[in-house]
């Protein structure tokens, strides 16, 4: 089913101390870990994070996309429940169990095209990581970044320094007053390809638009996950071909055209949480 996962590799599960926590407002935190021995992450991959101090509850590790890779990888955490609350309180030196890097990163970009990155809120993490990569490899991406309000655009400054940035907010408190999808249309032309991560409802819309315009579109999915490496079968994603793929091993990054968005309704319902 997920052959890519069956060759024994190593260094995929490490106990890593937190190097630092930078808080952005009270609901966003950048966590940087020290993991000299770990496997290096590619943009779009994720890790399952947990602390033994959590005891029996929260029970499961929390999937988090890499914001940066290397031996001091970082994640951007949005506080929305028990687990992320604890992550947002972490202090340097606290040790966390990191299982990762997991999943397939973003597919290789097409050098003949320009990359349009569409981020919603905390979905910025894997896209900022991607943008950095693209720029090192000589590409010139544009990033469309939307959030509820100005407070929900963490790291937008970093993006601005890096590449062309277009900002939208639902309440108009910053940038364009509206949705990312309103800014997206003019980029949906031949010679462009889309990479998107954010609330599922947003991704569904972006995907639909891209497909209609015949522009390749890659999405990074958020589904509930228990294991993160293909054994619990909890992260099912309904696909056009019928049946399901598994976000943790077949994704989280996938070609939008493969997904059966109509059968993905509960997934879209997750949007609130994303």
């Amino acid at each position: 089913m997920h052959a890519g996962h069956q060759q024994p590799t190593s260094h995929r599960h490490v106990d890593a101390p937190l190097l630092r926590r930078e808080s952005i407002g009270d609901s966003y935190h950048v966590l940087t870990f020290d993991l000299p021995s770990g496997k290096l992450a590619r943009p779009g991959q994720f890790t399952m994070v947990r602390s033994d101090d959590w005891g029996h509850a929260p029970l499961l590790p929390r999937p988090m996309s890499y914001l940066s890779g290397g031996t001091t990888p970082s994640m951007l955490v949005k506080v929305c429940g028990e687990g992320t609350l604890r992550l947002g309180r972490a202090e340097p030196g606290d040790v966390f169990s990191l299982v990762g890097p997991l999943g397939n990163g973003w597919r290789a970009h097409d050098p003949t095209k320009r990359q349009v990155l569409v981020a919603g809120g905390v979905g910025i993490a894997p896209l900022l990581f991607l943008a950095r990569d693209l720029i090192t490899s000589g590409a010139n991406p544009v990033l469309i970044y939307g959030g509820r309000s100005a407070r929900d655009l963490p790291l937008s400054e970093d993006v601005a320094e890096l590449c062309e940035l277009e900002v939208t907010t639902d309440d108009g408190s910053r940038g364009h007053h509206g949705r990312v999808t309103e800014l997206l249309s003019r980029w949906l032309r031949p010679g462009f390809e889309v990479f998107t991560c954010g609330p599922d409802r947003m991704m569904a819309k972006v995907a639909a638009m891209a497909l209609a315009a015949n522009v390749p579109c890659e999405v990074s999915l958020e589904t509930p996950m228990a294991c993160g490496f293909g054994v619990c079968l909890g992260c099912a994603v309904p696909i056009q071909a019928g049946g399901y793929l598994y976000a943790c091993v077949d994704g989280p990054c996938m070609d939008a055209s493969r997904i059966a968005w109509d059968r993905a309704e509960p997934l879209v319902q997750l949007a609130g949480k994303g």
Binding site: P8, H56, L60, V99, T223, A226, F229, V231, G234
Partner: protein
């Protein structure tokens, strides 16, 4: 060095720590975390005659010290398992318990027959207790007569050790287990998940697309320990304990209650190396008291 070996009927396990069906894939996915051959053995994801795609999403959600799952027995099917997975398991020297699932007697028989010809399968575990499939096997597990019937039928077609996995929802758990014992089961596995539900109060509807799911994890451990105690009191054949085991201390609790071996389920999601750590922890406990694992079994009952 105290002995960690245990015997379940004719099957010798190098230690009492197995991994639970559905929580360890096909035993191959964990090769990157530790050498799975160091475990007593593994139970495969539930195998059916035909591949199954499983239930719609969402399939899982977390609950206090537990989780609900309604995977719907998604699996590659017995053919693909025998072709793609089993040879690798054999190569790696892993003790394999094939967990099988069907919705009819005939399919249970066909599955057992299909596996009989394969090498490297050390026991068959009948899942007569999955809560997550309509007209699912669970009826078999809740009714004394049906449980006896399916055990007897499979017994006739396999020479392999035969384990039957109990539903905690059987009104008469001990009765069902006794019936299976009488029909030739070599061991009873207890317990499977307990049906539960969680509701998203913002969306005002069940969190799982299947509405209900099976509750697993530390939350159910006290219930599982009690059932293992009851079963071990009533049966002559060994009991394989399972339910919420996360640490070696938990595993030892089941052994002391009367389980001859244990299975690690949900804990492998929380820590992929959980089973491996538990093997070490149980050995340490035995060393400190210079007791063999077999001397631990049922010791809390004396």
């Amino acid at each position: 060095m105290t002995s960690q070996q245990v015997k379940i009927g004719s099957l010798e396990l190098k230690n009492p720590i197995l991994t639970a069906s559905g929580c360890f894939g096909y035993g191959l996915e964990f090769g990157e975390f530790f050498d799975v051959a160091e475990l007593g053995g593994i139970c495969t994801k539930g195998l059916s005659l035909e591949p199954r795609v499983g239930n719609p999403a969402d399939r899982i959600c977390e609950t206090p010290a537990g989780m609900l799952n309604a995977i719907g027995l998604a699996n590659v099917g017995v053919e693909v398992f025998c072709r793609d997975k089993l040879p690798l398991l054999r190569e790696r020297g892993i003790t394999v318990i094939a967990n099988i699932f069907a919705t009819s007697l005939d399919d249970f028989i066909a599955l057992a027959e299909r596996l009989e010809s394969e090498e490297g399968i050390h026991a068959i575990e009948l899942n007569v207790s999955c809560p997550n499939v309509s007209h699912g096997g669970i009826e078999f597990g809740r009714d004394v007569k049906l449980a006896a019937q399916v055990t007897a039928s499979v017994r006739r077609v396999t020479r392999r050790p035969l384990w039957v996995k109990m539903s905690p929802e059987a009104g008469d758990l001990v009765g069902v287990a006794r019936a299976c014992e009488d029909e030739g089961a070599d061991a009873i596995t207890a317990i499977n998940t307990i049906r539960g539900m969680a509701i998203d109060i913002d969306k005002m509807r069940p969190k799982l697309a299947n509405r209900t799911g099976g509750l697993s994890g530390p939350a159910i451990r006290p219930i599982a320990v009690r059932m293992v105690w009851d079963l071990a009191s009533a049966l002559k054949i060994p009991v394989v304990g399972i339910g919420g085991i996360t640490t070696a201390r938990d595993a030892i609790e089941f052994l002391l209650a009367g389980a001859t071996a244990v299975q690690i389920g949900t804990a492998s999601f929380r820590d992929p190396s959980a089973a491996r750590r538990i093997v070490d922890g149980v050995r340490e406990y035995c060393e400190q008291r210079s007791l063999s694992v077999e001397e631990l079994v049922g010791r809390a009952r004396q």
